[in-house]
Amino acid sequence: MPRYEPWNADRAGEIIARHRHEEGAALPILHELQATFGCVPEAAIPLMAEVLNLSRAELHGTVTFYHDFRKEPPGRRVLKLCRAESCQAMGSDALAARAEQKLGVEMGGTNTDRSVTLEAVYCLGLCHSSPAAMLDKHVYGMLDQDKLDRLIDEAQR
């Protein structure tokens, strides 16, 4: 279960320093920042810019280009529902609507007790067993309404 650290500039600096000599270090750094803090904190951008010798604008452009990088930490657990064609063929639209209704959020939102962030994902590579979902890093296939309900219950627990 992901538990994130509060923002700490020294910790961020340490992460940035560890990757700085890698070729094309930005993505590895951003991933580790997000794994640590639950998001890419705004305050990390100037630190990264300085070390990588990039402008803040360039880095801002990079961070915002990618769907993965968050501005704020997600809920305690992240439930990703596949919305791509293969899952559509097996009724994922109805499952998505049900998840939104059960959690009281739209895709991309976090429920009120911040236990679950619900997200759309475009393909988990489990198209042989559609519809598919991922709860944190665990994958689920052949979903139906019952299995989805159980998954949402587990996520909220």
Binding site: L27, E58, A132, V139
Partner: protein
């Protein structure tokens, strides 16, 4: 002697409970004092049978599936460890028609070997392709791949060997790179994921051969972040290969150096486009580059770069072992060798089916795939991912071949087939194609960035009956502009699903059947 059983750790098996089944075997083995050894393999690709449990017997591996954790005790009681019959018995796994009728070249070891064990890979003939490449040298290796007729399995179908030859011809004494495109974002595809989770060493071997062939000493595998299991499997395999002297300095005792690392994407579909992927690897926005210059000349960090799909690179070892002639013997026309085809969506037998080019859509969907999982009639299939065309049943005689699909206004792409039954609304699918393009557009070129949003609006207007005839003309015109004016395949190919839906299923748009019009 302990009985060896095999349970997949591929995420396609995990998603239906393979981990829980394996845990149950561990638990019961301890309780009952059973002498069993559980090997966690990749998947055979018969996903409707997962979790599939295989027992090693003198006559071969005997399968049981799909197994639920609650079945395990009963299975053991019925004598599964001696290969005895049970209602979940599947007999010898390699005799199952879906498996037996395949030609497994790229996926030869997938589902058989332990993906975390270099020794197991070697014991199954692994790294013989590399040995051959070292023996015959770089030039002959490049020519072998050229002669095999292997074409890029990522979708574009560009001859792999020609890319290699171009990079090999660039001046030596400079850094060159091998980049593996493992950003498998197309819905309906999972073959790259299966290789990385089930037989990662074959990919590492293919990349190493590529490195030697073109004089590149370093490589990257760029894996999408939606594949955490594949990232883990590749990282473990890269470490094992390095520890075993198969990566790094003087690989396998030769004069060649080659090392590599795994990099993770960040949820951008467009990064599957090769130049966008290179930008992303450099740590930038994944914006598409204009070509030329080709990545072979000016690639990663401006250096000559071979960028190939997972399946292209994973096919290289078998080409080196059995020879270009052997590989070329499979297939039809200019599509040589085998294609790992992925059956997905509403299909009874979802999974991976590797076969020579030339098999028809009908054979794949109706016979191999067994029709829909819902039991309803098949109405449409989308081939080649979100940028691939929708095919109606009338076109099911189309053979799986790059040129035949182009002639039918479609593409085979990465080999995924998504099946839809008769409840599908094709106008909705066309709208989704435009919507997806709008979400994922990198924003660099106007036809894709703006056209996709206008496309969504147009489909909405057409379905709502607003100036339908006029808007249909505008939609066609927009598709034409996107197809010819976009920088890359995202904007350029989005018209395929849209136009094919409109052409083959006009009734879903409230439009008249064009074919009927022609007959009047």
């Amino acid at each position: 002697m302990s009985v060896r059983i095999y349970i997949s750790r591929d995420s396609g098996a995990l998603c239906v409970g393979a981990q829980e089944v394996a845990m149950q075997f561990f638990k019961l083995a301890e309780q009952k004092g059973l002498d069993i050894e559980i090997v966690r393999t990749g998947s055979r690709g018969m996903y409707w049978l997962e979790p599939l449990v295989e027992v090693a017997r003198p006559e071969g591996r005997v399968g049981y599936g799909p197994v639920k954790p609650s079945d395990v005790e009963e299975l053991i009681g019925a004598g599964m460890l001696d290969g005895k019959a049970h209602r979940l018995s599947l007999g010898l796994v390699e005799e199952i028609p879906f498996f037996k009728s395949q030609t497994r070249l790229t996926f030869k070891h997938c589902g058989i070997v332990d993906p975390r064990s270099l020794e197991d890979y070697k014991a199954h003939g692994g790294y013989k392709g590399l040995a051959k490449a070292i023996e015959i040298g770089p030039e002959a290796t490049v020519e072998e791949v050229v002669n095999s007729g292997l074409r890029g399995r990522g979708g574009a179908g560009f001859p792999t060997g020609i890319k290699w030859r171009t990079v090999a011809a660039t001046p030596p004494q400079q850094q060159k790179y091998i980049v593996c495109n493992a950003d498998e974002g197309d819905s309906g595809t999972f073959a790259d994921r299966m290789i990385m989770e089930g037989d990662p060493f074959v990919l590492i071997e293919g990349m190493t051969i590529a490195g030697i062939a073109v004089g590149a000493s370093y490589g990257y595998v760029y894996i999408r972040s939606e594949y955490p299991d594949a990232v883990e499997a590749m990282e473990i395999a890269v470490r094992a290969a390095r520890a075993g002297g198969m990566l790094g300095k003087n690989i396998a005792g030769s004069k060649y150096d080659y090392d590599m690392e795994v990099r993770m994407g960040a949820g951008a579909y467009v990064c599957g486009e090769e130049t966008s992927l290179l930008e992303s690897l450099e740590g930038k926005r994944g914006e598409v580059r204009a070509k030329p210059p080709l990545p072979a000349h000016v690639g990663l960090f401006g250096k000559p770069t071979v960028i190939n799909n997972v399946l292209s690179l994973a096919s290289v070892p078998i080409i080196m072992i059995d020879g270009a002639e052997f590989y070329k013997n499979f297939g039809m026309g200019r599509s040589r060798g085998t294609m790992p085809i992925q059956l997905a969506g509403n299909i009874k037998h979802g999974g991976l089916y590797e076969t020579a080019f030339g098999i028809t859509l009908r054979a794949l969907v109706d016979e191999v795939g067994g029709g829909t999982r819902t039991g309803r009639p098949v109405r449409a299939v989308q081939v080649g991912g979100p940028l691939g065309a929708y095919f109606p049943r009338e076109l099911f005689d189309t053979p799986f071949d790059y040129e035949a699909f182009t002639a039918a206004d479609g593409l085979i792409g990465h080999g995924g087939i998504v099946v839809f039954d008769d409840t599908v609304d094709m106008a909705k699918q066309a709208r989704f194609a435009m919507e997806f393009c709008a979400i994922e557009s990198c924003g660099k070129c106007t036809p894709c960035r703006i056209g996709s949003t206008r496309g969504v609006e147009l489909v909405d207007k057409i379905v709502a009956g607003e100036n339908r005839e006029a808007n249909l003309v505008v939609l066609e015109d927009l598709c034409h502009t996107m197809k010819l004016g976009s920088l890359c395949a995202l904007g350029g190919f989005t018209p395929y699903p849209v136009m094919s839906a409109l052409t083959h299923f006009p009734e879903d748009f409230g439009a008249k059947k064009k074919r009927l019009e022609a007959a009047e």
